[in-house]
Symmetry: C2
């Protein structure tokens, strides 16, 4: 390709705005940063320009910076870590109630906070989760067209390509992001429409099956995950209550649905590390009984992972199960991104924490209590981790107990087109 | 000096937090960006760390980015430029009502917006001024310990040192900022305390004189500026209503007071260019009669300047008059900073727009109407421009009409120590 970086970045921004958000003329757009989005200013600027060109009324950016949090964790008093300014919820609700479009820009250095006090991090994270809960509850209504996308920053690039000089690592990670996001295709937007169509066909097949459970087997994994009755397989495209079709997260390769949070049993071993607020958790396993995590082991970060599962009652149960073929472009890149947005699209995965209400019929109309009663998990967290590999098989268990192959050796075991 | 850049930056941050803000243990600190503060992240991070070390409860940062405004001015609809999200005022008031400390980080590329539509810029600027007026009115109460300081960004450095490679320009501008802020002194905080003491002595002398007017003469300038009765000369240090001594703006070399907004007559010629929202106004003059701007001429940016004086009724009258010796470190550097924070400390200057209520006895207790009745100007803007030089004389006119020398050839004409 002879595109310059600026041309590629502009295509990526257009993909985010037109396919990811499907921004409507006259809409406001709120861009929220995760990690150090101030270092991803070139992407944020390109997205804002693309949004204004697409007719945005106003683009607001809530920038973020992990170094500010690092200083706070190191030098602020322990009591002050509970403090969350009231304006943050008000500002988020202002946009939510306008049905503004929402773009999350992920720009995390996965190890920046690795040496900070995990107790303090948990206190700070809980305070933010509690303060912003009304916003996250509002989002469950499904009125917001949203997506997430990544901005490359030096600290992330260094983790992915530790042997390259810093500038080369940044350049190479950008090229990798563009490649797995299909930016180098002649028409990236058309390529995405075609890709999304294939995901939608898988969804349709799986929805018709209405498996009672999935059975995952692979190295270190033998896990049965019950699915809620009338579950819906989602992925590729989302639709707001007003009918705006959007693509939550770029890239996306997954098809996912709602596990029954009381019907998960067995052992599962992660196939990739997990980055939690700047700390890497490596080589970890969990056992489940009746939906609840019984035991957690990890070669690195075990205490962080255990704290995570103890965050609240729902943090020890599953809220999502997702299928991704091992041949996905992210998997093909052979790169470990240390970033869930990418790594979750390289492998089958599950998430502890909150279920997505829309992944069951009429779920967005249920209260959290009603959702929980049918098996949909409730929590203030939602953390994905990878379990798939080229050695994983997945069976779909029908209501009569019989099994059908869903995946074999990490690839789909059924045809749709 | 053998200090590394990081050490210098850390000393600069400590100066901002301890002398500029005099941050109190347990206070919240709000950092607001002017220009593209996202590019000044190293300074913002250093200031946040220094604040937490000084006992801050929480440091919040409202980052800013001029490129987002540029895209908006170029691609958003004309009507939408009036839009200001409601949360911005709520967030500022949340901190104001807590008497949080307030740091403005200036990081402007002075020419980035030079080619944008001046009508659109005026609409956008007015909308923000009107939306945030309650906050700026609240600030007049004098309850907030605040300061402003500059963060070097590439676009600014390029303007100041156009012949240097970008990285060298940034490095040289940082060194210049450190030098004029006395960071290279053995003990910068002690050096500032001594400097502030000298400014306070000038204030005391001038306050005792209670001149009826000042008479400025120099190349292209013959201007009489009446002063309000019971005016107070300020500068160096400010004091909040709770008694927190702070240093508004670093660097600061000025001593300033309140002109009578109906008693300004004559002609004044700027001695340095003025940067207004990304546009440079060069070689300009204004004539005044009975306090009101009668005519504006400029070799560059005349229409922007005229629009500025037409922003509201008070924008065509003076709100500040300030004295700065020509031997100030900023003036000695011989550098034109294209940034008011620095350039105003190189020369005598005046400002069109709002007066500072604290620059008259009991001014903060007066309503805006009462203040206006005694000659204190009201406006939504406040824009300084430089009129001093090595060729300027200033006389103080006493109540009986007699004149005393205040400055000769740009230097103080009276002794205080």
């Amino acid at each position: 390709m002879s595109s310059t970086f600026e041309e590629q970045l502009s295509k990526y921004a257009d993909l985010i705005v037109r396919v990811g958000l499907n921004l409507q003329p006259g809409q406001n757009l709120l861009v929220t940063g995760v990690g150090s989005s101030v270092e991803a200013a070139p992407l944020v600027r390109a997205a804002a320009e693309s949004a204004y060109r697409a007719g945005a009324n106003y683009v607001d950016v809530f920038w973020s910076d992990q170094y500010l949090l690092q200083s706070r964790l190191r030098y602020a008093s322990a009591e002050s870590l509970n403090y969350v300014p009231a304006w943050r919820l008000k500002a988020l609700m202002e946009y939510a109630e306008q049905d503004a479009a929402l773009l999350a820009v992920f720009a995390e250095d996965p190890t920046l906070l690795a040496d900070e006090n995990p107790e303090y991090m948990a206190v700070q994270r809980r305070a933010v989760s509690e303060a912003l809960k009304p916003f996250n509850d509002y989002r469950r209504k499904g009125t917001i067209n949203w997506t997430g996308a990544a901005g490359v920053i030096p600290g992330w690039a260094k983790q992915v390509f530790p042997d390259l000089p810093p500038d080369d690592a940044v350049a190479k990670l950008w090229q990798t992001v563009f490649e797995v996001c299909r930016i180098n295709e002649a028409d990236p937007i058309a390529a995405w429409q075609s890709h999304i169509g294939r995901i939608m066909a898988r969804r349709q097949y799986l929805n018709a099956k209405q498996y009672d459970a999935l059975h995952f087997t692979g190295p270190g994994t033998d896990l049965k995950v019950g699915l809620v009755a009338n579950h819906r397989w989602l992925g590729g495209q989302g639709e707001t209550t007003q009918g705006i079709l959007h693509t939550p997260n770029l890239p996306t390769e997954e098809t996912f649905t709602m596990p029954h949070c009381e019907r998960v049993d067995g052992v599962v071993t992660a196939s990739k590390p997990l980055s939690v607020s700047g700390t890497l958790i490596r080589e970890f396993s969990m056992t489940f009984a009746d939906g609840v995590v019984q035991n957690v082991t990890a070669n690195q970060g075990e205490s962080i992972l255990r704290k995570l599962t103890e965050f609240d009652e729902g943090a020890a149960r599953l809220g999502e199960v997702a299928l991704v073929p091992h041949s996905s472009p992210i998997s093909q890149s052979g790169i470990l991104f240390y970033n869930t947005l990418f790594d979750e699209n390289a492998a089958n995965h599950i998430a502890i924490g909150a279920a997505y209400a829309e992944s069951v019929e009429n779920g967005t109309k249920l209260s959290k209590e009603e959702l929980r009663a049918i098996g949909g998990n409730d929590s203030m967290i939602h953390v994905d981790f990878m379990i798939g590999s080229a050695e994983m098989n997945v069976d779909g268990i029908l209501a009569d107990g019989s099994a059908e192959p869903v995946m074999r050796n990490g690839e789909w075991a059924f045809d749709v087109m």
